[in-house]
């Protein structure tokens, strides 16, 4: 149920972002881009919750073999079709993947920088053109 709500939220955010990007006002386009990037961040975070399936976390032994304390296997045994680090039998733990959170942090920082740049650009365009209507931005043609 929780996952359904989360997915629905992400979908609606993608919808709003796409709608805003198709507007004529530059500022709305920029807001649309931010909404979209937040939707992507939510999407990434939502992939990081596991209920006892694949857990990509390195254990103390350096990442190979079974450790009894955590109950995880980190060997990719391709012949047995074991693709990612998986739980040893008899264990069932809910994990949150720490890596996706690192990814999201990086993505947030990057989108902060790009949004700051594009906002300043929008301000300068407003100064030069006297409007924020995107249809007026068509001096380059041919």
């Amino acid at each position: 149920m929780n996952n359904t709500l989360l997915s629905l939220t992400i979908a609606i955010m993608f919808g709003i972002g796409t709608f805003l990007i198709l507007r004529r006002d530059i500022v709305r386009v920029i807001i649309g881009l931010s909404v979209l990037s937040h939707a992507v961040n939510l999407l990434i975070v939502s992939t990081g919750v596991f209920y006892g399936t694949k857990v990509p976390i390195i254990a103390n032994d350096g990442g190979h073999g079974v450790t009894e304390e955590t109950g995880t296997i980190f060997n990719d045994v391709l012949s047995e079709n074991i693709l990612a680090p998986i739980l040893a039998p008899g264990h069932s733990v809910a994990y949150v993947d720490p890596l996706v959170q690192a990814l999201v942090l990086t993505a947030i920082v990057i989108s902060l920088a790009t949004t700051a740049f594009i906002l300043i650009l929008a301000y300068r365009i407003y100064e030069e053109y006297g409007t924020t209507d995107i249809k007026e931005l068509r001096r380059l043609r041919g």
Binding site: L33, I44, P56, G63, L78, V100, L103, R124, R139, L140
Partner: protein, 513 residues
């Protein structure tokens, strides 16, 4: 020396980043900045050649950043990466030398040097990284720094600042959308395979495919990567930003954008599709081929009608990148060799053409070719160099472009793609037409109507502007007359691309510390 050689991949990325911050600190000492930057770029070009030789002699080099093994960030230098890094560092050295006299002094020392260094770091990083999320990060570094560079001011102010901002806005919005799509694709890939290491993903996806359990959404992810790299490389439905951005940027930046930056898309395509999505390629090869053909057609037809010299060159870039993607889509080892040879030749020729068009518009005070004419008397050297570049783009012997087109068409005919090669040949004739139209309009004929448009400015191009153009023109001729080493290198590279097993082994069969 031995330890330095081990750390080459990280040096090639870290030095430009370090230089960027150093250049901000040194902005009140322009002379020192100039000397330091040029000497560091010389060293970087040398080091990249050392790296290529190292890869050629000792096989694929893997560098673990922070020694986390395959779970951390890896820098992998195989022949493709090292070759692209050599191309990048050499062209950016020449563009930097050219910029010293071309870019306005104040803008040069305050923003231009740091951003140029960051762009070089982004380029080297995206070529060398072995981690797909890291590729995204370097793409963003590349995007932001190149946006800042497009707005940089050149001497004379031929391009209005409002035009630059409009172009940058288009570039930034489209590429931000591209990076959002890339983030979705990377996240889905991670959720599917549980790893971000490209070699690891490749192993897992091919194991799934061998077991017949490949999820259907892998195809959707692959399609998203076509959108991302197609957007970077300006492939047909996504090429509309390029003819605005490349002409409005200052000429050395146009040379970097057209010469190297759109090749990042081609590199990403080669890396991601032939390493990770090998098993989906049978569906996407026709897609790539027909997108490439559409790109060739649209670029060539649009270039014919242009009067702005840099806009013509930009549309020509769209058309030429189509040929690179065509070779990729054909997919045999010979076709990929052709695609790589084409990529290198186009990078050199198009950088040269943009640099010399910068010297020309600097002199004429306008970008409109109809207002030029008769410049062969005043500018015999540039006329000669521009002719060499035009011949290379048009594919005439004895330039490198002839070899590239010949190998590409030969590869297509060997693989019996007669219809595709036929279309490519027809539009190669178009490129002959538009390049020579540009050359004739600018250099031949009467001197322009000086009463109507004013005389040419008395300012001649300085040696710092002429030398990079000359070096690149010589490189075009050398690649045409003595093409065997490049073709041998490209063949070895294509072999590595089509058989990724050595790459995977080099990355994965290492002791995790």
């Amino acid at each position: 020396m031995n330890s330095l050689a081990q750390h080459l991949p990280i040096i090639l990325i870290a030095t430009p980043i370090l230089m960027a911050s150093l250049m901000v600190l040194l902005r009140s000492r322009p002379q020192f900045q100039k000397v330091l930057n040029i000497s560091v770029y010389f060293v970087l070009a040398f080091l990249s050649i050392v790296l290529l030789l190292q890869v050629w002699n000792d096989g694929i080099q893997v560098y673990e950043v922070g020694e986390w093994g395959k779970y951390g960030i890896l820098l992998v230098a195989d022949l493709l990466s090292a070759g692209m890094v050599v191309l990048t560092t050499c062209i950016s050295l020449l563009s930097m030398v050219y910029s010293l006299d071309y870019i306005e002094k104040r803008s040069l020392s305050s923003t231009y040097y740091p951003l140029f260094n960051l762009m070089l770091a982004g380029l080297n990083g995206s070529f060398l990284t072995g981690d797909i999320f890291n590729l995204f990060v370097f793409f963003e570094i590349l995007l932001l720094s190149s946006c800042g560079l497009v707005i940089a001011n050149e001497h004379g102010g031929v391009t209005k600042i409002s035009d630059k901002m409009e172009a940058t806005f288009k570039y930034l919005v489209l590429n931000m959308l591209g990076s959002i799509v890339m983030l979705i694709a990377v996240a889905s890939l991670y959720a599917t395979t549980g790893t971000l290491n490209m070699a690891d993903i490749s192993v897992k996806l091919s194991a799934m495919s061998a077991a017949g359990t490949m999820p259907w959404h892998v195809f959707a992810i692959a399609l998203m990567f076509i959108v991302v790299f197609g957007n970077k490389a300006a492939i047909f439905p996504l090429h509309y930003w390029l003819p605005d951005v490349h002409p409005t940027a200052p000429s050395p930046i146009s040379a970097m954008l057209s010469g190297v930056l759109i090749k990042v898309g081609a590199y990403g395509m080669l890396r991601v599709f032939f390493l990770i999505f090998r098993d989906t390629l049978y569906i996407f090869q026709p897609v790539i081929i027909y997108l490439a053909l559409a790109t060739i057609i649209v670029g060539a037809i649009s270039a014919v009608a242009q009067n702005d010299v840099k806009r013509l060159l930009a549309y020509s870039s769209v058309s030429q990148i189509g040929y690179v993607f065509l070779g990729m889509g054909l997919g045999s080892i010979y076709a990929i060799t052709a695609s790589l040879v084409y990529l290198v030749n186009h990078a050199i020729a198009k950088s040269m053409l943009f640099l010399s068009s910068g010297a020309i518009i600097h002199y004429a005070g306008t970008r409109d070719m109809r207002k030029m004419g008769g410049m062969v008397d005043r500018f015999p050297m540039i006329a000669l160099f521009f002719l060499a570049g035009a011949m290379s783009i048009a594919g005439l012997p004895p330039t490198g472009g002839f070899i590239a087109k010949f190998v590409l068409f030969d590869a297509g005919i060997t693989d019996k793609y007669y219809f595709e090669i036929g279309i490519a040949l027809i539009f190669a004739v178009f490129s002959l037409f538009y390049m020579f139209r540009a050359w004739l309009l600018m250099f031949w004929g009467e001197i322009r109507d000086t009463e109507k448009y004013g005389d040419y400015s008395a300012q001649k191009a300085s040696p710092l502007i002429l030398v990079p153009i000359m070096v690149l023109a010589v490189a075009i001729m050398v690649l045409g007359l003595y093409a065997e080493p490049l073709i041998a290198l490209a063949t070895a590279t294509a072999g590595q691309i089509l058989d990724p097993q050595p790459y995977i082994e080099a990355v994965l069969t290492r002791v995790v510390r």
